[in-house]
C-alpha cells in the first residue's frame, strides 16, 4: 500500500507558464545548496557524536577560543551563495513585475467569495478565466471588500487584490489545460472555497471561445455609457469650453502636474483622479472636479478606465 501511495504522490506542481520553469530552476538550485549543507551538518554531528563519544581519561585541551580563518570562511562562503540567490530571485521577480507591452488585458475583482473576471471585449466570467496559450495576459485586479490573493500554482504567480487600489499580475501559459485558481490571502468563512479555474486554450480554441456567445457590451462601451451618464463630458471635452484636461491619448502618457512633477497616467493614476481628484491637479487646471467616490462601482471604474484607454486608440 505504501509504495502505491508514494508512486502516486506528486512532488512538484505542473509547469504551465513561462515563469514556471524559471522559478523551478532557482528552486532546484536552492534545494541543491540546502541539501548539501543539511547533509554536511547532519553528517558532522553524527560522526562527531560517535567518534568523540565520552572517552576515558579525557582532558579538555587548551582549545583556541575559535579560529578566525575558519570563521571568515564560513561567513564568506554562505554570504557569496546567498548573494547569488538574491540576484537570481530578484531577476525573476523583476520579470514578474514587467508585463510585456503586447499583453492581452483582463480585469479581476475579488469579492467574498468569488473571482469576477471581465475581458476587454466585455465578456464576463466568474471563478474562471479563459486565456490563450503562447500569449501574455495581464490582469489588473482590485477587491470590493477585503484583501484576496490571486494564485495559480501551475503558473507560479500570485498577487494580492487589495481594496482601494489596483495591482497587476501577468503570465503566459505554455500548455493547454485547466489549472487551479486559489485565493491565497485569508478572507473569512469560505476562504478555502474561493477557488476557480484558469483554462488555457490553444490559440484556435481560444478564438472559437471568443467567437461563441459574444454580444455583450465591451468594457470600453460600458465605460463610455457611464462617462455620459455621470456627465463627465461636460468638462472633459476637446473644445475651448473644456474645464478639465482632454482625455484622448492620455492613458499611458506622462502628465505635467502643478508644482512641476510629472506622473505617468497609468491605471492607478486614472483611478485616483476619479476618486480623489484633488490629489494630483494637472498643470493649468483648477481643482474643481468633485469626487466620484461611492458613485462608481469597482467594475464601473475599470470600465471607465477601459473607455479612456479606447480614446487613446482612436487618436492613434
Amino acid at each position: 500500500m505504501i509504495p502505491s501511495l508514494i508512486s502516486g504522490l506528486p512532488l512538484f506542481p505542473e509547469r504551465a507558464s513561462t515563469m514556471a520553469s524559471r522559478v523551478d530552476a532557482l528552486y532546484f538550485f536552492l534545494i541543491g545548496v540546502s541539501a548539501f549543507f543539511a547533509v554536511l551538518i547532519a553528517t558532522l554531528i553524527v560522526v562527531f557524536a560517535i567518534r568523540y563519544r565520552r572517552r576515558e581519561g579525557y582532558v579538555q585541551e587548551p582549545a583556541p577560543e575559535g579560529a578566525l580563518a575558519l570563521e571568515v570562511t564560513w561567513t564568506a562562503i554562505p554570504l557569496g551563495l546567498v548573494m547569488v540567490m538574491f540576484v537570481w530571485g530578484a531577476s525573476i521577480f523583476v520579470a514578474m513585475q514587467r508585463p510585456p507591452d503586447d499583453a492581452l488585458q483582463a480585469f479581476v475583482v475579488g469579492r467574498r467569495w468569488m473571482w469576477k473576471v471581465q475581458h476587454v471585449d466585455g465578456r464576463r466570467e466568474i471563478d474562471q478565466i479563459h486565456v490563450p496559450v503562447g500569449r501574455s495576459v495581464k490582469l489588473t485586479m482590485t477587491s470590493e471588500d477585503v484583501i484576496h490573493s490571486f494564485f495559480v500554482p501551475a503558473f507560479r504567480v500570485k498577487q494580492d487584490a487589495v481594496p482601494g487600489r489596483y495591482t497587476t499580475l501577468w503570465f503566459q501559459a505554455t500548455k493547454p489545460g485547466t489549472y487551479h485558481l486559489f485565493c491565497a490571502e485569508y478572507c473569512g468563512t469560505q476562504h478555502s472555497r474561493m477557488i476557480g479555474q484558469v483554462i488555457a486554450l490553444e490559440p484556435a480554441d481560444y478564438a472559437a471561445w471568443l467567437a461563441g456567445s459574444s454580444g455583450a457590451q465591451s468594457m470600453a462601451q460600458a465605460g463610455g455609457a457611464t462617462f455620459e451618464q455621470l456627465g463627465c463630458a461636460s468638462c472633459h471635452r476637446d473644445d475651448s469650453q473644456a474645464r478639465g484636461p482632454a482625455l484622448a491619448g492620455l492613458a499611458g502618457r506622462p502628465v505635467q502636474l502643478q508644482g512641476g512633477t510629472v506622473v505617468v497616467a497609468d491605471d492607478a493614476y486614472l483611478r485616483e483622479s476619479i476618486l480623489n481628484p484633488q490629489a494630483k491637479i494637472v498643470a493649468g487646471y483648477q481643482p474643481i472636479m468633485p469626487t466620484f467616490q461611492g458613485l462608481v462601482s469597482e467594475e464601473g471604474l475599470l470600465q471607465l478606465i477601459a473607455y479612456i484607454k479606447s480614446l487613446q486608440a482612436k487618436v492613434n
Partner: protein
C-alpha cells in the same frame, strides 16, 4: 557522571564594605543605594524607549497619510483651535519646569518646596487636560469626531476623517499618559508630604519626572504636526 573532574572558573569572596553600606532604603537585591538608583534610572529610560515606539506606530500612520493626502491634512488642521493648542503647549512646558524644580527640591530635601512644586505640576497638568476636554467638546459639537456623525465640507472629507481619527488617537493616548502621570504625582505628593524624600533618597521623584518630561516631549511634536499645518492660509 562524566569522567572529567570539573569545577567552574569561579569562586566566591565576601564583598568588601561594611554592613552599614546597605542603607535602610536599599532593596535586598541591590548591593548599595547607588546601584539601586542607577537601576531605577535606567529602567525608566528603557521604559521611555518603549513609549517612543508606542507613539512611533501612530506617528508612522500620520507620516504615511500626510504624504498621501497633504491637502486634506491641511484642511483638517485648519479646523483645530490654534490658540488653545498654543496655550496648552505653554502650560505643559511650564509644568515641565515645575516638575524639574520638584526634583531639585527633593534632592535638596526641602519638604515644603517639594510639595509645592509637585502640586503646581499637578495643577498645570489638570489645566492642560481641561483645555483638551474643551477642545474635544467643540469637535463633538462641530461633528468633527470621526464615525457615522462626521460632517466635513469640501472635497477632502474622507481623508479629513483620517486626519481627525489620528488627531483623536494621538491626543487621546497622550491624555491617557497625562492622567497616569497625574496619578503618579498624586502618590509622590503624599510621600513628599510625609517627608520620604531627601538627599539620600529621591529616586521616585526623579524617575517620575523623566516620565512627565517625556509626556511633554510628545506634545512638543504633536503641536506642530496637528495644529500648524499650512497655518498661513
Amino acid at each position: 557522571m562524566p569522567e572529567t573532574s570539573t569545577t567552574a572558573g569561579a569562586g566566591t569572596v565576601a564583598r568588601p564594605g561594611s554592613p552599614g553600606a546597605r542603607a535602610h532604603a536599599v532593596a535586598h537585591q541591590f548591593e548599595d543605594a547607588e546601584q539601586q538608583y542607577e537601576a531605577a534610572n535606567l529602567g525608566m529610560w528603557v521604559f521611555l524607549v518603549t513609549e517612543v515606539l508606542f507613539f512611533g506606530g501612530m506617528f508612522t500612520v500620520y507620516v504615511v497619510y500626510r504624504s498621501m493626502f497633504p491637502a486634506a491634512f491641511a484642511a483638517g488642521s485648519h479646523e483645530l483651535d490654534f490658540v488653545l493648542g498654543t496655550v496648552n503647549t505653554a502650560v505643559l512646558i511650564t509644568s515641565s519646569l515645575t516638575m524639574a524644580l520638584a526634583v531639585h527640591a527633593a534632592r535638596a530635601g526641602g519638604r515644603g518646596a517639594q510639595v509645592a512644586w509637585l502640586a503646581a505640576t499637578m495643577a498645570l497638568g489638570a489645566v492642560f487636560l481641561g483645555i483638551k476636554l474643551t477642545e474635544y467638546a467643540h469637535k463633538f459639537a462641530e461633528h468633527l469626531v470621526p464615525g457615522p456623525s462626521f460632517r466635513f465640507a469640501g472635497p477632502d472629507a474622507p481623508q479629513a476623517e483620517l486626519f481627525f481619527s489620528l488627531y483623536f488617537v494621538l491626543t487621546g493616548f497622550h491624555a491617557v499618559h497625562m492622567v497616569i502621570g497625574l496619578g503618579l504625582l498624586g502618590v509622590l505628593t503624599t510621600l513628599a508630604w510625609r517627608g520620604r524624600f531627601g538627599p539620600s533618597y529621591f529616586t521616585p521623584v526623579e524617575v517620575s519626572g523623566l516620565y512627565w518630561h517625556f509626556v511633554d516631549l510628545i506634545w512638543i511634536f504633536l503641536y506642530p504636526l496637528l495644529y500648524l499645518i499650512d497655518r498661513h492660509h
